[in-house]
Symmetry: C2
Subunit: 225 residues, 2 copies
C-alpha cells in the first residue's frame, strides 16, 4: 500500500533517498521521475532500476520533453548552451546548469499525484551542497512551498527533503550503509556513455567519493579530482 | 516583443483577461494553454482563436493529458466521476470539480517559460467567485506562490491575477466593453456540442449573463437559471 511519493531522478541523491525511505523509514513510496529534455536522460533508467529493485510501484514517468523549449535557458536542456565545467559555475548563485523553476514544477506535479493517491508526504532529494547555485533546493524554498500547499482545504500535501542538511559525502555514507550500488546511479550532465568527470555534478560526485575514501564505480572519461 | 505570459484556458475569465491585457494594458503576452485530460478540452480551440485574433505569439499548448492519471481524483478528468450539478457542489470547500493542485502546476510551468523568455509577469484569470471551492484561486494562494518565486536569485517571476476581486459578472461587463465575443469562449465541464446548462460552471456563467442582462450566445441543452 503506497504511503508516500518519492521524486527520483536516478542521480545518487535521489536513489539514496529511495533506499533510505524503504529500508530505514519503512515507507512504501510511489516513484515519480521526470523527463524534461535533459541531455542526461539516461539517468532515468537508473531510477527505474532502483524502483524495481526495491519493489516500488507504481513508478510514474512524466515526460515534459515535448515542451523542453520552456526550459531552453538551461545548459542542461538547450542545444545552444554547452554544459559548463565546474570552474565556470563556482560562485554563481544561479549558474547555466540551473533549470528554470524545475523543482517547483516537479513538486507541484508530485503534490497532485499525492492528492490523487490519497497520501500526504512527498519526498525529494535536495541536499546542502546544491544551495550555492539553486534557490529551489534550499530549506527556505521548502518552507514556502509547504506554506502554499497548507492552504489546500481537504488534502494538504507536505514536501520533505530529509537530506536538506546533508553534504553529498553524508548522502554517500548513508547510502553505503544501506547497500546502495552507486554503479546504478547517474550524475553527469553530459549524458555520454562514460561520465565526463569535469562538469559540476561530476566534480561534486567525485569529491564526495574522495572524501569518503572509496572509488566511484562509474566509468569516467577522466577523473578531475 | 513578448513582455509577459497569459495563461488562457479558453473560458470566459481567461479570454477576457487576454483582451484586457492587450487592449487596456497594452501588453504583448505569450499565451500558455494546458491540456490535462479535461473532458472539456474543446475549450482549447477558443484559446487558440482568441490568441490568433489578438495576434499573440507564441501560443504554447502544454499537453499533460498523457499523465491524466495524476489528476484522476477530479470529476473534470476521471472517467469514473460524473460532472456534478451545481446543487451538489454548493457549500463544499473543495468539490469534485477541483483538480488536484492544477493551478500551482500551471503557474510553475508558466514561471519557467517566463524565465526562459526573459519576462517577469505571468497573468492568470482567477476571480472572486471561484474562491468558495478552490483554494488555488485565492489572493492568499497568489501571495504565497509569489513568496516562493521571490527566492529566485536572478529571474524572479511575479504572478498577477487582475480579476481576483472581480465577480464573474464584473468580468463579463469588462469583456463586453472590450468587444469580447463570448460565443468564442467555452465553460461547460461536460464538453459536449452544446453546453449542459447545469454543471457548476454553466450555472455560474448563466448567472453572470443574467445579472448583466444579456443572453449568452453559446448553444445550451437547457438554461438552468
Amino acid at each position: 500500500m503506497v504511503d508516500c511519493i518519492a521524486i527520483v531522478s536516478g542521480g545518487m541523491d535521489s536513489v539514496t533517498l529511495l533506499h533510505y525511505l524503504v529500508k530505514t523509514q519503512k515507507r512504501s513510496p510511489a516513484v515519480l521521475t521526470f523527463l524534461y529534455g535533459q541531455k542526461h536522460a539516461r539517468e532515468v533508467q537508473f531510477a527505474q532500476h532502483n524502483a524495481d529493485l526495491l519493489g516500488c510501484q507504481p513508478h510514474q514517468i512524466i515526460d515534459l520533453s515535448p515542451f523542453k523549449s520552456i526550459f531552453d535557458a538551461s545548459a542542461l536542456v538547450s542545444d545552444h548552451i554547452a554544459i559548463p565545467q565546474m570552474a565556470a559555475v563556482q560562485g554563481d548563485p544561479q549558474p547555466a546548469t540551473y533549470v528554470p523553476n524545475r523543482n517547483m514544477i516537479f513538486l507541484s506535479l508530485a503534490a497532485a499525484y499525492a492528492e490523487t493517491l490519497g497520501v500526504a508526504d512527498v519526498f525529494y532529494g535536495a541536499q546542502r551542497h546544491d544551495m550555492y547555485g539553486y534557490w529551489d533546493t534550499t530549506a527556505e524554498f521548502l518552507e514556502r512551498v509547504n506554506s502554499v500547499f497548507a492552504l489546500n482545504r481537504k488534502t494538504p500535501v507536505r514536501i520533505a527533503a530529509p537530506f536538506v542538511d546533508y553534504s553529498k559525502a553524508d548522502i554517500l555514507r548513508t547510502g553505503l550503509t544501506l547497500g546502495v550500488d552507486y554503479s546504478t546511479t547517474w550524475s553527469c550532465y553530459r549524458g555520454q556513455d562514460a561520465a565526463c568527470g569535469e562538469c559540476p555534478t561530476c566534480a561534486e560526485r567525485l569529491a564526495a567519493f574522495k572524501e569518503v575514501g572509496i572509488e566511484d564505480p562509474l566509468p569516467y572519461v577522466r577523473r578531475s579530482t
